[in-house]
Symmetry: C2
Subunit: 221 residues, 2 copies
């Protein structure tokens, strides 16, 4: 962590990750209130708690590095808040799809980017991004709902596309305003870096994974 | 747990406790969103998570007894929801006072009632009711806010009285509709029981404790 450019990039990575997890906690806690059954409510609350536990791990690492978590998350508050304000789920199922699709893209993105940071940060990011059984719950819930009401398929597919669109808008905004994360990729942050072709492949991988996730939900991407 | 009257009483006790914890999780998660700083937000989210962990312990015990948590909480949903709908905090501080005062009364009540149930249930209730450092955080936060704005003292004291009033209204409703919890106290549920004088002393203890809690917050009860 001695490199002058590497450290702020890692702090930004952890800050973005931490705020994302804290917001995911809040959003899932709200989704739990829309749950049609007690079992669903508890299951979604459990997912919210898992996100908060990731938040705790990431902020503990920030503190270990001598960084204030509040300062580290600050650059990302506006864009994450904007994303959530523009993608407020109006039904329990929209909330589940958002959690699954949003978490999935975030996981892929952070895993890709963590290939270019130090080993300690990388293993922390991997751990924080581990799935806690939520994916299976969401897939079975969303598929069952479509069997009961086939009209949901088109509506939820549209919702999935809207989520990706908004996520890309905000990601671009972060990339423009905050070049440290971009520098990780293009080699300005010290350590290994990706060339342009590799960045292209990275986005292709993330897009592919998103398509697979939508398919697992029984939806077209 | 062989006694025919004792078992439904214990299931009701655990059901009420479980739903109370799940609602506390939801409410605190919402309060976290009103937090003025990132540190406050994380601190309140942490309290929410602790409540959910209590919920998990209690529902695990219900399952161990062969009971469905959804069925066990059902009799209490309406009154708990009504309490929360009528005591929606409009500021971060009102949320903190509600969590502290509400949790405090609930803790006292469940501890009192658990003296009359089997030892396993009793130690579970004790563990689920353990404070997780939230009290200290709330007290220091509410006191600091009053130092900054002394007008808060009167307003928050009024809010505390409203909370107790609504809690008593809903508790009475549960007692009328669901006599199993009352039976625990008056000896209709097998095991040791309280006489009328002891029930009077119990309510006196709960009221005293509430007054002390308000004093700790710098508020009159």
């Amino acid at each position: 962590m001695s490199d002058d450019a590497h450290r702020p990039a890692v702090v930004d990575l952890l800050g973005a990750l931490a705020y994302g997890e804290l917001m995911a906690f809040s959003e899932l806690a709200k989704d739990a209130e829309m749950a049609p059954t007690h079992t669903d409510k508890a299951a979604v609350a459990r997912l919210a708690v898992a996100e908060f536990q990731h938040y705790e791990v990431i902020t503990a690492r920030l503190r270990e590095l001598g960084e204030d978590p509040g300062a580290a998350v600050a650059p990302f508050v506006e864009s994450f808040d904007a994303f959530h304000a523009r993608t407020r789920p109006s039904t329990f199922l929209e909330g589940l799809v958002k959690a699954y699709v949003g978490d999935g893209i975030a996981q892929d993105f952070y895993r890709e980017i963590s290939r270019y940071v130090d080993a300690d940060t990388r293993s922390l990011v991997e751990a924080a991004m581990s799935d806690v059984g939520g994916a299976e719950f969401v897939v079975s819930r969303v598929r069952a709902a479509q069997r009961e009401d086939p009209r949901l398929t088109g509506r939820l597919a549209l919702w999935g596309r809207r989520l990706v669109g908004e996520a890309l808008t905000q990601a671009q905004r972060v990339a423009v305003e905050r070049d440290s994360l971009t520098l990780i990729l293009v080699g300005g942050a010290g350590g290994p870096s990706a060339d342009l072709a590799e960045i292209g492949r990275m986005f292709a991988r993330i897009t592919d994974e998103h398509t697979h996730r939508m398919q697992r939900l029984g939806l077209s991407a």
